[in-house]
């Protein structure tokens, strides 16, 4: 990732800001070089049918943190992560759903079969709407 704020934000010092963001948004975490939706790993973030098309699956998908508690489990001392805000009211394209799995975890999942190309195009459009909050580091 290269866009967004260049300076490093201290996770521990920004908890008030993060809490505020979480009232309206859920948060995608990404490593410094990672495309936020990738890697899309078969059986984990995505499932394919025998023809190689993306299968609908409410269990796999792009996971999003919905609480500070969840973020604190993912971002441990010494780690640097990009945080992206995803509006809880986001409108998803056909074949996708933004679902609340529980108070700590939301997901973007597929609801109908689609080709891999169709999936990729739609995911890119979804991610364009995610706002880069910045790159965060957590200290002890």
């Amino acid at each position: 990732m290269s866009k967004g704020k260049k300076s490093l934000l201290v996770f521990n010092e920004e908890l008030e800001l993060i809490e505020k963001e979480l009232k309206k948004n859920v948060i995608r975490t990404a490593n410094s070089r990672q495309n936020p939706q990738n890697p899309l790993r078969p059986g984990k973030e995505i499932t394919y049918d025998k023809s190689g098309n993306v299968e609908p699956n409410s269990k796999t998908g792009i996971s999003l943190a919905a609480s500070v508690k969840q973020l604190e489990k993912i971002i441990k001392p010494g780690m640097k992560k990009w945080l992206l805000a995803v509006d809880r009211e986001s409108v998803m394209p056909n074949g996708f759903k933004l679902q609340s799995d529980n108070i700590h975890h939301w997901s973007v999942v597929t609801t109908q079969p689609m080709t891999k190309d169709d999936y990729d195009k739609k995911v890119k459009k979804i991610i364009k709407n995610w706002r880069v909050m910045g790159r965060f580091v957590r200290y002890e």
Binding site: N31, R33, R41, K44, K59, M79, N102, H104, H105
Partner: protein
């Protein structure tokens, strides 16, 4: 009981076997697409595991040049899986 894909459960079993035998015993039972807990004690054990797994994995697999990206993504996935397991089981730890 929580349903996952076979690959998700395999990732959880692999990392629990590597880092915590108590957790391994819990997640290694049952069908290859399900994980369940039977007590508040088990809920606490997997919750504690989810609190430390990302740190354990990044320490052993520092993800220089993205070569450890997959196993670190598995650790993060386990955090989300545990929140699902705890929510599905009704244990609030």
């Amino acid at each position: 009981m929580s349903n996952f894909t076979k690959e998700q459960k395999e990732a959880f079993v692999y990392l629990s076997e590597k880092y915590d035998q108590q957790v391994f015993k819990i997640v290694n039972r049952g069908a290859d697409n399900e994980i369940y807990i039977e007590s508040e004690e088990e809920a606490k054990i997997i919750d504690e595991f989810s609190n430390k797994i990302c740190a354990l994995v990044i320490k052993d697999y520092p993800d220089h040049e993205r070569k450890d990206e997959d196993i670190n993504a598995d650790a993060e996935m386990i955090v989300h899986m545990v929140s699902d397991i705890l929510s599905d089981s009704g244990y609030d730890v």
